[in-house]
C-alpha cells in the first residue's frame, strides 16, 4: 500500500509540474466562466458544459493518461527492476494520473459550477464529469498496457474515445431503426448502460430536459434513472466502468513481457 501511495505521489508531482495539467485546468475554468457569463440563464451555461463534459473531458483524460503512461515507460522499467509488485506500480500510476485530472476537473469545472449554479443539476454535472474522468483514465490504462508501441497505443486510445462518444451512438440509432417494430425500451436501457458517456448523458438529461423525458418512452428512463434506486444502479455501473478496465489492465500488465 505504501509503495502504491509513493508511486502515486511521484506520478502526481510529475504531472503537476507538467504544464499540461495546468493548461487543462485553465481551459476548463475559462470555458466555464465564459459560458456562465455569456447568458443570464444558468441552465444554458449548464447545457454548454454538458457538451464539454461528454466530449472534451473523456478525450483529454484518455489521451493524456495514455501519453503519460508511455512517457513513463522508462520509469516503470526502473521500478520493475526493484522488488515491487506490478499491480502496485500500475495502481500507483492510476491513482496519480486520476488525482491530477480530477483536481483539474474539480477546480476547472467544479468550482465555477458551484459558484454559478449550486443546484442539484450542477452537482449531478460535477459528479458525472468526475466519474467520466476516472473511467476514461481507467480505459487509458488498458489501452496503454495493450501494446508497447506508443503511436499504436495512442491510436487505440483515440479510437476508444471515438467509439464511446460517436460510433456507439450511431450503432444504437441503427438498432433503433432496424428493430423499430419491436418493443425497444428495455434493450435501449441495457445499451445505455454499456457506454459510460451515454449513461452520464442520460443522467444529466433527466435533470435538464425533464419535460421532454416525461413524454412517450422517456418516462421509462425517468422511472429507471430518476429514482434513488436508479441513482444507485447508475453510480454502480459507472463505478464498474472505472474498476473493470483497470482490473483488465492489471491482468494484462502482470503477464506481459516488458
Amino acid at each position: 500500500m505504501q509503495v502504491t501511495i509513493k508511486i502515486a505521489r511521484y506520478t502526481l508531482l510529475d504531472l503537476l509540474y507538467n504544464r499540461v495539467t495546468l493548461f487543462y485546468t485553465l481551459f476548463l475554468m475559462g470555458v466555464s466562466l465564459v459560458v456562465f457569463n455569456l447568458d443570464d440563464n444558468v441552465s444554458k451555461g449548464i447545457l454548454s458544459l454538458v457538451n464539454i463534459i461528454l466530449l472534451i473531458v473523456p478525450l483529454v483524460s484518455i489521451v493524456f493518461a495514455t501519453i503519460h503512461m508511455y512517457n513513463s515507460a522508462e520509469f516503470i522499467e526502473l521500478l520493475l527492476a526493484r522488488p515491487i509488485q506490478r499491480t502496485r506500480i500500475l495502481f500507483g500510476h492510476f491513482v496519480g494520473i486520476s488525482t491530477a485530472l480530477s483536481t483539474a476537473f474539480l477546480i476547472g469545472i467544479g468550482l465555477p459550477v458551484l459558484l454559478y449554479a449550486p443546484s442539484a443539476t450542477g452537482i449531478t454535472l460535477i459528479a458525472a464529469g468526475w466519474m467520466l474522468t476516472l473511467s476514461f483514465v481507467s480505459i487509458a490504462m488498458l489501452a496503454s498496457v495493450s501494446t508497447r508501441d506508443k503511436a499504436r497505443g495512442i491510436g487505440i486510445a483515440i479510437l476508444l474515445w471515438f467509439l464511446f462518444t460517436m460510433i456507439y451512438d450511431g450503432f444504437v440509432l441503427w438498432i433503433l431503426f432496424a428493430f423499430n417494430d419491436y418493443p425497444l425500451e428495455k434493450p435501449v436501457l441495457v445499451l445505455t448502460a454499456l457506454n459510460p458517456v451515454d449513461l452520464a448523458r442520460i443522467v444529466l438529461l433527466l435533470r435538464i430536459d425533464i419535460s421532454a423525458f416525461m413524454g412517450y418512452t422517456g418516462a421509462l428512463y425517468k422511472d429507471y434513472f430518476g429514482t434513488a434506486k436508479g441513482m444507485i444502479i447508475t453510480t454502480s455501473v459507472l463505478l464498474c466502468w472505472i474498476i473493470i478496465p483497470m482490473l483488465l489492465a492489471v491482468r494484462r500488465f502482470k503477464s506481459r513481457d516488458i
Binding site: 444554458k44 457538451n51 451512438d169 438529461l205 416525461m214 422517456g218
Partner: protein, 416 residues
C-alpha cells in the same frame, strides 16, 4: 330532525328560544325565526326573500330551490349530503347562494350528482362558497347569465373514472366563471355547448384530467387563469371563436400531457399566455385560422406539436426558449406561418439591424422528426450523433419540411 351537529352559536340560540327541537335556528331578514332544516327554511320563504344561515351543520341532501331567493351563510354553515344524492338543486331564476360550505354529494355512474346543480335557470349567482368532496362541484345545465365567482372547489379524488368535474356547464349561455380555485376533480372546468361565456382568473391545480375542457363551445373567452400540474393540461375541442389570453399553463408533465390541446378549433386567438415546463406546450390537431401571438413558450419538452392537417394558423411574436424541441410535425405539408418569432436556437445574424435575422430559421430539427418516428431515440438526445444529424440536415434539408420556416426570426424576445 336532520341537523345533528349544531355549532356553539346555534346551540346558544336554541337555548335562548327554548324551541323544542334539536334543529338549528335561523333568522330571516324581517327578524322572524325559522327552524328545522334548510329545506324547511327555504319552504318558509317567499320569493325574493333573503335567508341568512348563521353557522350550523346540516345533514341534508337534495335541497330544492324553486323560487327566486338569496341564501347567505355566515360563520360557515355546512350542508352535508353525507354521500347520498346531491346537496343543493336550483330550479329557479334569480337565486343567489353565498358563503355556504357544501359537501358530500354521491359518487355515481348513473347520475351526475353535484354540490350545487342549477337547471333551466337564469341569473343565478354562486358566490364565495366552499365545495368539497362532491362528485361534481357546480353543475349548470341549460342556464343563462349565471355567475360562479370566488368559490373554492376541491374534489379529493384520485381516479378519473370515479370523479366528476369541478364546474360543469352544459348547454349554457353568457356564464361568468371568475376567481374560483378548483383542485382534485376530473376536469376543473368543463364546458359543453356553452356560448358567450367568460372564464377569468381561475386557479386550476392538481386535477386528474384537464384544467379546462371545451367541447362544442363557441364565442367564449378565457383569461388570466392559472392551470398548474393538471393531468393533461387544457383541452379545447370542436369549437370556434375562442379567445385565450394571458393564462399560465405550467407543469403539465406526462406521456400524453400538454399545456393546450387544440382539436378542430377554428378562428380563435391565443395571445399573451405563458406556457412553462409542459411535456408539450401547444398541440394542434386539425385547427384552422388560429392566431397564436405574443406567448412565452419556455422549458417545454416540445414547444409546439402541429399536425399536417392544420391550416392557416399564424404564429407570430412568440418567444421560444429553453425548449427541448421547438416544433414537431408529422408530415411535409405545411399550411401555416411561423414568421417573426424569437427562437433561442437561432444562430443567424442581422446585418441591416432591423431586429430580424437575415437568414431564415427552420424550427423543425431532424432529430425531432426522428424522435416522433422512433420515440426511444430520445435516448440519443444531446449526443454528438444528434448534433451531426442536425448539422447535416441544416446544410442539405431532406427529411424536415422545407416550408416550415421563419423567414424573419426575431433577434430579441418580444415578450419576457
Amino acid at each position: 330532525m336532520i341537523p345533528i351537529k349544531p355549532t356553539k352559536l346555534t346551540t346558544f340560540l336554541i337555548l335562548m328560544l327554548c324551541i323544542g327541537t334539536n334543529a338549528a335556528v335561523h333568522q330571516n331578514e324581517q327578524g322572524h325565526y325559522l327552524s328545522v332544516s334548510v329545506q324547511s327554511m327555504i319552504d318558509e320563504t317567499v320569493p325574493y326573500d333573503t335567508l341568512w344561515i348563521n353557522g350550523g351543520y346540516f345533514f341534508e341532501n337534495n335541497i330544492l330551490i324553486t323560487k327566486p331567493i338569496t341564501i347567505i351563510g355566515r360563520q360557515n354553515p355546512i350542508l352535508d349530503a353525507g354521500g347520498q344524492g346531491q346537496v343543493l338543486i336550483i330550479r329557479s331564476d334569480d337565486v343567489t347562494i353565498e358563503g355556504l360550505t357544501l359537501k358530500g354529494s354521491a359518487t355515481s355512474n348513473m347520475t351526475e350528482n353535484a354540490g350545487i346543480k342549477i337547471e333551466n335557470a337564469r341569473r343565478v349567482k354562486i358566490i364565495a362558497n366552499t365545495l368539497c368532496d362532491n362528485f361534481f362541484g357546480v353543475y349548470l345545465a341549460n342556464s343563462v347569465k349565471c355567475v360562479v365567482r370566488d368559490n373554492i372547489i376541491r374534489g379529493g379524488y384520485e381516479r378519473e373514472s370515479n370523479s366528476g368535474n369541478g364546474i360543469h356547464l352544459w348547454q349554457c349561455d353568457s356564464i361568468e366563471i371568475t376567481n374560483n380555485v378548483i383542485s382534485e376533480h376530473r376536469d376543473a372546468i368543463y364546458l359543453e355547448f356553452v356560448i358567450n361565456s367568460h372564464v377569468f382568473g381561475n386557479h386550476c391545480e392538481d386535477n386528474i384530467r384537464y384544467g379546462l375542457h371545451f367541447m362544442f363551445s363557441n364565442n367564449d373567452q378565457y383569461r388570466n387563469n392559472v392551470f398548474n400540474n393538471n393531468g393533461a393540461g387544457v383541452a379545447v375541442m370542436y369549437s370556434s371563436r375562442v379567445e385565450m389570453t394571458d393564462n399560465i399553463f405550467e407543469n403539465n408533465l406526462g406521456p400524453s400531457s400538454f399545456g393546450i390541446l387544440l382539436k378542430d378549433i377554428t378562428d380563435s386567438r391565443i395571445t399573451g399566455n405563458q406556457l412553462l415546463k409542459n411535456t408539450i406546450g401547444i398541440r394542434l390537431e386539425g385547427t384552422s385560422r388560429i392566431e397564436i401571438a405574443r406567448n412565452n413558450i419556455e422549458d417545454n419538452g416540445w414547444a409546439v406539436l402541429i399536425t399536417a392537417n392544420c391550416t392557416d394558423n399564424d404564429f407570430e411574436n412568440n418567444t421560444f426558449r429553453y425548449n427541448s424541441f421547438d416544433v414537431s410535425t408529422n408530415g411535409k405539408l405545411v399550411l401555416n406561418t411561423f414568421d417573426q418569432n424569437y427562437w433561442d436556437k437561432y444562430e443567424g445574424y442581422d446585418l441591416d439591424r432591423n431586429g430580424m435575422g437575415d437568414v431564415p430559421f427552420h424550427p423543425v430539427s431532424i432529430f425531432a422528426t426522428v424522435v416522433s418516428e422512433v420515440p426511444e431515440a430520445i435516448m440519443l438526445y444531446r449526443s454528438f450523433t444528434q448534433y451531426l444529424m442536425d448539422r447535416a440536415e441544416k446544410a442539405i434539408p431532406s427529411v424536415t419540411p422545407e416550408n416550415l420556416v421563419d423567414h424573419e426570426p426575431l433577434m430579441k424576445p418580444s415578450v419576457l
